[in-house]
Homo-oligomer: 284 residues x 6
């Protein structure tokens, strides 16, 4: 179960509110690389974790709980970027060409509201669980496969795209408070990337874990097609690289190259059944 | 651009059609771990690849093109599992309690149709781009971040959960033809896991690539919070592991432990604006 | 604006309630071939219709309004199929192997509830705006393009897949009341197919309307590639048919065959920008 | 920010695992009436709360944090209902007709896996953030309008449909541990219904708060149409009730009845623009 | 069944078309607070209504039918705001800084088309069933629980957030015709809020109806946890209010405060099954 | 199975990158009228095709394979429109009022990034499988009904709305390279419209195929209601046209007019069951 402290994980301050930046921050809340995703992903991985030990469940709970605080920080940042902005823009925005150009003249607030749409119309100048285009987060992005190694790679992927996004937001930020908040979040993403890779290492590192799942007897998979790079280019040329020769990362094979061709035949489905709603011509 | 051969990548044969297994195969077509996902993910990564070299684009195109053939194999397998089934079940299913029980008696076809729902009602006894619960695939699952290392981890994650699914399907399969098809697909998933990890290795392996993105000057991230495991448990206990001490996988830090506490203050949002549609009591 | 009569468009009677059939009927309510779709599609086409005459708007309003009554009939049919069923099944279902087999023994109601899921748990034994797999209808399926000929083909497509579905439901039905209701709906789908094709005819029939949109000067489209069938098979073989030779349906061209090959070059995107969150290796 | 205790909010015990019941419980996790919804709804209402006081924010944080523990309990219940079931069913299920009928004979595990689909195939016998039909939760169901009274009614609605669902699950449950867990959750839903209504009362009760938002000068709304019940029945009959006469709940009007008729004219849109992609016939 | 009159419910006139305002109006059509939602919600509640009386069904049909006319009014308003705008803007927009700033210069049509996206590209300058960010309406937002009191609170919630939205649109509107249309819609929302609360009153008011559902014997819920406010703050402090002491709104209890702590134990799931696709390390 | 050539189907060149146009092109990639849709639609129709002949399967494979190349062209066009733009805009955009107005002054890149949202934040300046509002493509739009005639009308509908969109994009384009690419795509849409209509002709033309499905004995549908236009207008007036008199397009009937009225009775559902979670007042 869970507890809260009403203070924030890390300071969130906005000196120059920027509604457009608020919308960009939404990607870090409800985008597929965002914080709702990692928070819920780690929770569902923890709650469904099966193993002889509870240590992975425990570790995941710590980080999942940490992530709630990240959503909270970002939601606060969105609200602060939306809060004072329109008033300020009305007074100063038109004067300098920068903001005024986007805002329009006579009644600037209308225009900015047009740009921020749902954060005003539906959320009342607050954060919403959606991405920067206003698309609500969809929980199918919570990956919790029941295989701890697969889950760790899902987590590395999540924190990698997450840190890429945080860096893009940092590069786009112009407010010192926002930069400070993001420099903290970027650091936490660094740690979380290390953390999930460390779990893989503790499980015995890649050779021990690959191919995932390692509980399937590997001699039952097709031995002719598990370590060869398929070339589908019409002329048979292909880009050479680490993936076309040398030992495979799992230490169990050698990369080779296969110029792809059909190994099966043309599939023949039976004609349509008389009562299947097909056209008469299909029933034949 | 693209070409086709009407023969299949690998043989797909079904001796004993099983509509329930058809529905399970749908997860491998339109599930989040399925083949539409990897096919489109590799294509979009290829089409948007930016680098001084085209070799990654080329490599991705080869594997993306290969994956179309996997969707085709699975779609064929679904159609074959649906094709003859009801007729057979009508004749034999009722006799043995096994299938008949699920099918119902008087008019078994009705019942099986009730179970397979959209594959009949909407698809006419064919595969559809949806998962095993009939949820259509959603293209937000195509991860193509513009960062090649992040993308490679996304691909490892996809092929890991994909091979886990293929193994589960193999374990559930009872038809020899289906097992053979799956033992091929499991092998290709093995190769693809190796392949994406090989790209990471070619890029300089993990220490060189981490943290992702490695193009952000790491001294700009918060140096106090980039290698410490946050403990959020109320009593401060935590699970020890590779993630709490020792060098980090990127070779750039040491894991430490931090008993989490608020570093920020309670956030204060301004009162609601008079014209914002809030209650009068909020405007204060 | 709109009025209602609380009587139904056509009688809806259920003698032998069947929860599994209720679930199948959901496809006709909230499936992509269902009645919510056509109702809303015709309304949005009407409300946005632009033309020198209001006759198409008027016609669409008549049929859109008719379709509300179809959703109502199906929703009623679902509720009636769910209403008495469990009680009856408890008493009689177990005795005959047919229904009992699906229901389970000791406490049959649990099992059937397990099968019908959301219609009970979320809807209280009533219809819901979702398909037969419980997927809610998504309004992106409302096609209203602003081009009346394109819209008419969308409508023919909707009523064609709709009648296919209605026929499949009729074939699966065993209750006389349900068959009667469906034999009416199938008839209305017949009429609506005719109706939309009649509009195309009134607009001047296909040669006059094709290609859609016919307001684009056709000599501005690529004259080398507008009437040739592209063959992408590796060996250049192709299926001959009406589409490979002879005059085209619009009466403006002749079908020819083109063995496809690249007409463009390999695309070269620039390297990643330094501040774009890419890996350093991509920036080059 | 947030803390956790790895113990559960309330005991979750399963004596007789039931995979079908596990699927039903999913509705309480990821259904529109489920716990993810209320948890995230209260958090987003808290994080975006604007008022001269922080008391509503604080109160919402307490209950949002409580709700994480409810998701955790249900996820645990799903995992426990899936955990031992198949093995047990294999041994005993076939013998009694009840479970065996649903399971099928020869290899019962296959069949039950067919029924539970994604919880096995995608989740590895664990809970997932989806409803009882496998539809992932969609974050657009998080209502946080920025108007505290509107939000309170959204919360009452959520806890009302939530308690209705919990009661249905209680009625369907046969395991004592599950009944005990649900009798606790039903009680918490009772409290939360009271709690949100209490907030409305503290804000000054309904007359003070209605119509929502109460910050819009009510004399600016149409005075002829704000307290009359519109009758759209063709024959003008209507059901009499509290809504057709007597003072309105806000104490500011009297209910009257209006036989509806058009107050506007037929809308005339201009013809299509020549460059708008319409058919030539529409441009006129 | 249903009838239509081609005249509008209420006049819809636009003197100064504004494409940005058209986009904002989309929120009232296809947003979660919009008119498609209430229209379909009332219809599905009516069609599935179970009670000894048909009066609630009848009442719901009247208001559902009224709401079709509201969607129609808004769709008309969107079309009118889009209709003449681009031409006008091309001629006059650039001259005044206001619109021109948003439009851009040389070729203003490009820019406005960029802003209005799908209403032009997909809808041909007409309304679409989507919200102000272009997200299509999702029918999972139709709440019809089968419990009439729960449904009434859902309806109050819908009309409350709906009126909040209408007020925000009114505040953003600058065209007199649009203000007039909205002042009518705001009035209807007032009536509908009263109407649903009146139903609750007619059912016996809150004490009689709470907790919802009132058909569950309340002594079967946990008597220790049904009227106490859970405090999850780490330091045990909490915001005092109507929800922490005094009689509860249902008149059946007294609010008390409980400093939350785990009442359950750490959950222990069994290890992964050998054939479940988990990693070997999890099977232990 | 499939092959690729890394050259493009047709040249894609961008002289003046335009991020706003990139966003518009997204509609042709991931919009409901876009290329992912037709590509996948033709593939699933091919893979599930049931008929005594494989010719339709073969034909569909050719065109489906062609369409992959169209997605590739558009994805390349999006990347090229995004690639150089910001840099150029920074240097030149501000100077001319046109672009600068949209971009803002001091730091124009921020603003354009705000407008293009996910293509940068999530995709790294590349195409994504979403529409012009950033809504991801949803695979429920793949229509493959198992009825070849219904599918052909679905395909005509897809290519008609697709060509309407391509024309709108052509009209909005200002770059010669983009116009050239689109004039090619418009031509291919022309061909594909002809092609699907040609299939219908080959199947025996409309009279032979209608009503769809033609395998249902038409004398089993309601003979009173299959060729009459329902008038739902309150005053009985209706728009006369090809749909109100004369022979029907299938050559099997005569259009007549029916002033609609209820043919059924008021539906009566039973009261709520005691254990169904309804209010006590509903159980009666």
């Amino acid at each position: 179960m869970y507890y809260h402290d009403k203070r924030l994980q890390y300071p969130v301050q906005v000196t120059e509110p920027d509604p457009a930046f608020a919308r960009m921050l939404q990607q870090a809340i409800g985008g597929v690389e965002g914080e709702i995703r990692v928070c819920m992903q780690y929770f569902f991985q923890a709650w469904g974790n099966r193993a002889p030990t509870t240590k992975y469940r425990d570790m995941l709970l710590n980080t999942a709980t940490e992530e709630i605080g990240h959503i909270e920080m970002l939601a606060t940042a969105v609200a602060l970027n939306l809060e004072k902005a329109p008033a300020k823009l009305q007074e100063e925005g038109v004067k300098d060409g920068i903001v005024g150009a986007v805002m329009g003249g006579e009644n600037p607030r209308h225009k900015i509201e047009g740009l921020i749409h749902k954060n005003l119309l539906s959320g009342g100048l607050a954060a919403m669980p959606m991405d920067s285009d206003g698309v609500p987060f969809n929980m199918s992005h919570i990956y919790a496969s029941g295989n701890v190694a697969a889950d760790m790679y899902c987590n590395v992927a999540a924190e990698s795209t997450g840190r890429v996004l945080a860096v893009r937001l940092f590069n786009a930020a112009h407010d010192e408070g926002m930069k400070k908040m993001l420099h903290y979040m970027i650091a936490r993403d660094t740690m979380h990337q290390q953390q999930w890779l460390a779990v893989i290492e503790e499980l015995g590192a890649e050779p021990n874990n690959l191919p995932i799942p390692n509980s399937f007897p590997q001699d039952m998979e097709d031995q002719q097609n598990n370590y060869n790079f398929y070339v589908t280019s019409l002329d048979g040329t292909y880009p050479e690289g680490r993936w076309t020769q040398g030992p495979t990362p799992d230490g169990k094979g050698e990369f080779t190259v296969f110029r792809n061709e059909p190994l099966g035949e043309e599939p023949i489905l039976g004609p349509a059944r008389p009562d299947s709603g097909a056209q008469a011509q299909q029933i034949g």
